[in-house]
Amino acid sequence: MTAPTDQLVAACQQQDRQAQQKLYEEFSGRLYRLAVRMVGNEDADDVTQQIFLQVFRTIGQFGGRSRFETWLYRLAVNECLQHLRRRKQKALQPLLGEPASHQHDAEARTEQRELIEAALGRLEPDLRAVFVLREVEQMNYREIAEALDLSDGTVASRLNRARKQLRDILLDMGWVP
């Protein structure tokens, strides 16, 4: 990961709008991708917006005890999980890309892309977070553990469960490995 300069973070802590924009330009691609994988295309804009609002509102509390990226990803994943909880409570929207009837519809889903997106949307959110940080963001276990405030062992067991659950979901949808 590319570390932003200390000066950039320091300037953001002073609510410098130009520095905020630079920080946005530096990280918006990765955080938007994370939001898409975590909450789906439809909500990713709103969640990314909320992530950055929280970043700029709370960046004054970043004391440099962890890497800035770790702090940033922790905040971003928490926002995504919070959004998923609210969405579940409201029960207004289906999970990302999930069809009304998901069984045995592989014929309608010839694209593997659609399959994996739908399957990710059905993965438990806590497992999805670990899986996305590993497979999409290419973080190692220590980085994931720091970002999610988990032990390495928990990261390993969640990844195992995530992969198993994802495989079962995909097989249920007609996936042929």
Partner: protein
């Protein structure tokens, strides 16, 4: 040789190159000999391949403009998410439970306070009760309830010196790690208070009501009074947090949303160090 169950347990570590030494060799040997487990590892590879092929989405062009517009809006109109409790937070919650157990054992809950009626302190308590009951669930919604029941207005920090005869301590020096989110002038039954809403680490919201008089009793005669950092402090427990009133700088301060007794003692001590020399 390692069995299938143990191999499955270690398979992600093995696949992600997070397994070293003898365990790695043992898993490797098992995979060479067990078609079922080897198939599992192959499925992991297929999953990674599918994820890698996903298109890289780009943020929409107008997103930065939306963020800027939202940044410029008043703070309370923005939703305030509640982060997932961290391990540190979970430890604090456990401490809170221990402290709350002591207070609850003494019957020091707001439920009991609701029964009080009549004199000014109890009226204040009665009118604050819906606010306090909602606070644990949503500080923002609690604030809406407070403003619906009491006359109040949002203040610009720069205007404070024209509106109140003292400089509120929470505005002047918010607790370490907290930032001032917004300030209100609220007319409670006891007096007109400056209410300072502070946001802290892990999304904690702390609210301070700084009363104009030294003898304001937001909780009536209920709760427990004990010495916190050398100050007599009236404490009541509510679901998930503490609220407390103590005297500082010739006035009284009520804090709502305090995580536990440890934090309360820190806050009382912190404000004591902030007060003007003549008041101590």
């Amino acid at each position: 040789m390692m069995d299938c169950s143990k191999t499955e347990q270690l398979l992600s570590r093995y696949y992600d190159n997070e397994l070293q030494g003898r365990e790695r060799i043992a898993v490797s040997q098992h995979l060479a000999a067990c078609a079922r487990c080897a198939r599992r590892a192959e499925e992991f590879r297929s999953l990674s391949e599918m994820v890698r092929r996903l298109p890289d989405p780009a943020p929409p062009a107008g997103l930065w403009a939306r963020i800027v517009a939202a940044l410029d809006q008043p703070a309370l109109t923005r939703p305030t998410p509640t982060p997932v409790p961290s391990r540190a937070r979970r430890v604090l919650q456990a401490r809170w439970l221990a402290a709350a157990a002591v207070l609850l054992a003494l019957g020091l809950t707001l439920g009991g306070l609701q029964r009080w009626r009549g004199s000014a302190p109890e009226e204040a308590m009665t009118s604050l009760t819906p606010y306090l009951q909602t606070f644990a669930e949503s500080p923002d919604r609690a604030q809406q309830i407070l403003l619906a029941r009491h006359e109040g207005e949002r203040l610009d920090i720069g205007d404070l010196r024209h509106r109140v005869p003292y400089r509120p301590l929470a505005v002047q020096r918010p607790p370490e790690g907290f930032v001032v989110d917004s300030v209100y002038l609220v007319k409670l039954s006891c007096c007109s208070c400056v209410e300072t809403i502070c946001r802290g680490p892990d999304g904690q919201t702390l609210v301070f009501f700084e009363h104009s008089r030294p003898d304001c009793h937001c909780f009536g005669h209920h709760g427990v009074t004990c010495q916190c950092a050398g100050r007599p402090t009236q404490i009541v427990a509510h679901a998930g947090y503490l609220a407390a009133t103590w005297r500082v700088d010739g006035r009284s301060v009520t804090a709502v949303g305090v995580r536990d007794l440890t934090q309360l003692v820190q806050l009382v001590g912190y404000f004591a160090r902030s007060e003007s020399p003549s008041a101590s």
